[in-house]
């Protein structure tokens, strides 16, 4: 009997077209754009200057505080600029631009493909390596991993849950990683488990990935503290709060961190990055992403260097036509439910980018919004048991207090409400805005 979370959720068609395409190495771009804002929290502070020579893996920016992460050069070459550049959203961010020459790595990095099983580091050393490698949550939110692994006063972690749900339609990067690097993921998980103390390890995987479940079970058999939990296919299963509910049956209270329920959730991609950082000394300078669309010729999985411009992936995948026009209407950075639309194709992918999704106008164009018919489908779909129809109206009217009374801050922006609204109302657009205001107010207090 597979498990799942208890409230709301939707069942979009999973469209994992690229699931059988092995991970390909993406060519090193001529120029990378490394944004200082690749994680939640304070932007990193550059420590290189225009004209500096850097090697692959060299530190180029230091964290600006505890909730922040360092950034490393993903290519070797010359720093050609440190200035404000528009990112893929068209917003201006401080960016380090490196012109590539060759592929010259730091000597300390072990580049062999041999799997290193033996764990020699103490938990303190592992923790230090994780925070120095600039590892962030690769499930999408990009929250610095070392912060999550830091114990909080009065809260004891009992479980480490590796998130292999990949509930977003289209994306297959986590799936491919589990298939091709399952052992490394488990070693990475084991490393984080040791940091947290003697906790139990659980890997949650959705049922639509039977091969991954089978393989991970086989690998987990070599470890004492690990088990694989199959989950029903349902969105947003991979949400942190939903995953904890699905696996442990515990609900995270408002304004509390997930660890208050005794669970720490990490993406399987993060576990792989932790393995590389601790066992191979390799900082987070590359990741796996899915470039996919409903066109069978554009369905790939790539292992890429961070900072590669979005356009390069589209060119490599053969997305533009002969005359340079794109027959797709929208490029999404991330999954179709929570990813962000790319406004600037010259903007670069980041550490936590898990997919580039090409959608046609027919697939993605929003319909003309109608009138709310009070069908309450949004309420039924909301995994946080909010009343999106009400929050939407309150947000339009700007009623901040009423919004907080109805727990707008609990919104996880999963998009289930907007997805299911038959009147095509832009529910989440307004609720997200109201939520951000509410959270800002809360922080001030």
């Amino acid at each position: 009997m597979s498990k799942t979370f208890s409230i709301g959720g939707i069942h979009p068609n999973d469209r994992k077209f690229s699931r059988d395409h092995p991970i390909e190495e993406f060519p090193i771009p001529k120029r990378v754009f490394l944004s200082m804002n690749q994680h939640l929290g304070m932007p990193a502070v550059p420590v290189v200057q225009k004209g500096d020579m850097v090697k692959v893996g060299q530190l180029i920016a230091e964290p600006a505080g505890f909730v922040s992460a360092p950034i490393h050069a993903s290519v070797s070459g010359t720093v050609s600029d440190v200035a404000l550049y528009p990112d893929f959203l068209g917003k201006k961010v401080l960016t380090v631009v490196i012109d590539t020459s060759g592929d010259d790595w730091l000597e300390s990095i072990d580049r062999s493909s041999e799997i290193k099983h033996e764990i020699t580091d103490t938990p303190q050393e592992i923790f230090k390596k994780i925070s120095e490698a600039g590892i962030v949550g690769l499930g999408g939110a990009a929250f610095p991993t070392h912060v999550k692994l830091t114990p909080l006063e009065g809260m004891k972690a009992e479980y480490l849950i590796l998130n292999g749900a990949e509930c977003e339609p289209y994306l297959t990067s986590d799936y491919r990683l589990m298939i091709e690097h399952g052992q490394e993921i488990l070693i990475g998980g084991e490393l984080m488990r040791r940091v947290l103390g003697d906790v139990r390890g659980i890997i949650g995987i959705e049922e639509n990935k039977p091969r991954a479940i089978e393989l991970m079970r086989k690998h987990a058999a070599h470890f004492l503290q690990w088990e694989v939990v199959p989950l029903k296919k349902r969105y947003p299963q991979g949400g942190e709060k939903q995953l904890i509910d699905a696996v442990l049956g515990r609900k995270v209270p408002s304004f509390s961190l997930p660890v208050s329920t005794g669970a720490v959730v990490q993406n399987v991609g993060t576990a792989y990055a932790v393995y590389e950082a601790v066992q191979k000394n390799k900082p987070l300078i590359s990741n796996v992403l899915t470039v996919t669309s409903s066109d069978p010729s554009i369905q790939r999985n790539y292992h890429f260097r961070t900072g590669t411009p979005v356009r390069e992936f589209l060119n490599a995948a053969g997305a533009p036509e002969q005359d340079g026009t794109l027959r797709f209407a929208k490029v999404v950075n991330g999954g179709p439910m929570m990813g962000k639309a790319v406004a600037n194709l010259d903007g670069a992918v980041m550490k936590s980018t898990s997919g580039l999704l090409l959608l046609t106008e027919k697939e993605t164009k929003r319909q003309e919004p109608g009138e709310c018919i009070r069908c309450s489908k949004c309420f039924q779909a909301c995994p946080m048991r909010l009343q999106p129809y009400l929050l939407y109206q309150l947000a339009l009217a700007g009623r901040t207090e009423a919004l907080e009374e109805h727990r707008v801050f609990d919104c996880i922006e999963c998009g289930c409400c907007l997805y299911s609204c038959p009147a095509h109302l832009p529910l989440l657009d307004q609720i997200r805005l109201a939520r951000n205001v509410s959270l800002k107010n809360k922080r001030k207090k």
Binding site: L89, G90, K92, K340, N344, R432, L433, N436
Partner: protein, 278 residues
């Protein structure tokens, strides 16, 4: 038959009388003593409840005005000096006169000078779009053109111009309440003095990008060349973050700056056309 009628009339009258007494007693008990001058002040106010004065509606303004005699910075932007004189008369106070103002848009990037790079398909709200990304054009400071200011205006003074894709503010109906200024997520609306004979000069750009970047995305943006700063004889133009700004309190409307601006982003409003000999 008669008795039924009689009983009905009697019982209903009795009930009515009883309830009237109860109502009277309750009204007496919960009577709120209020300064009658508040109502007089309220009478003198325009009653638009726009919140432009900083209070939640005209009544809140009136209450505060009556109850805080030591405070002097009360001003109703909608009513202007005339209304404030009437209000002050009720309490026999002085008015600090203010110059009439109106909202101006510090962006002149209409559709043809600022090409669209992508198409926005979300909720028709500037706040949502600004939260999401850099905007439809390359300029991440300029007007988003989705009309949050139009919605915010309670005086029907702002309308989108479909030709320019920019909002237009009507001089006659704008009351300088400032609702649009608060609504604009890009902070490009500003309340400026209407000026003598409604003449005024301002820089219609808010871009803090470097000149080269601004020039690439918009032909009428401020490129930070500082020619106007040097030209101004009254030191009314300040310069910061690649952007010049004209201080309306120092500007004497000499129009020297408009002549030197290479992109024409300094707008002069309601001036007679310059003589060709100039």
């Amino acid at each position: 038959m008669t008795s039924t009628l009689l009983y009905t009339i009697l019982s209903l009258s009795l009930l009515g009388g009883l309830l009237a007494v109860v109502l009277y007693l309750i009204a007496q008990k919960f009577k709120v003593q209020e300064d009658p001058r508040i109502d007089q002040v309220l009478e003198a106010l325009p009653g638009a409840n726009c919140g432009g004065c900083g209070y939640a509606g005209c009544r809140a303004f009136a209450e505060s005005y009556v109850n805080n005699p030591e405070m002097t910075d009360f001003f109703c932007p909608v009513g202007g000096n005339d209304v404030m004189k009437n209000v002050a008369m009720v309490l026999g106070r002085e008015v600090k006169e203010q110059v009439p103002r109106l909202a101006v848009l510090r962006c002149n990037g209409s559709c043809d000078v600022r090409p669209r790079l992508n198409v926005y398909d979300g909720s028709m709200s500037c706040a949502v779009a600004a939260d999401l990304y850099g905007g439809e054009t390359g300029c991440s400071y300029g007007c988003l053109g989705l009309g949050d200011c139009v919605t915010a205006c309670t005086f029907d003074a702002i309308h989108m111009n479909p030709q320019t894709c920019l909002p237009e503010i009507s001089e006659d109906t704008c009351t300088s309440c400032g609702a649009c200024v608060k609504a604009c997520p890009r902070n490009i609306l500003e309340l400026r003095p209407k000026g003598p004979k409604n003449r005024r000069i301002y820089i219609a750009c808010a871009s803090k990008d470097k000149g080269a970047v601004t020039r690439k995305v918009c032909t009428v943006g401020c490129i930070g060349c500082q020619k106007c700063v040097k030209e101004c004889p009254f030191e009314a133009i300040s310069f910061a973050d690649n952007l010049a700004y004209i201080d309306p309190s120092k500007c004497r409307l000499c129009r020297k700056c408009t002549a030197v601006c290479p992109t024409g982003c300094i707008l002069e409003i309601n001036f007679p056309p310059k003589k060709s000999s100039d």
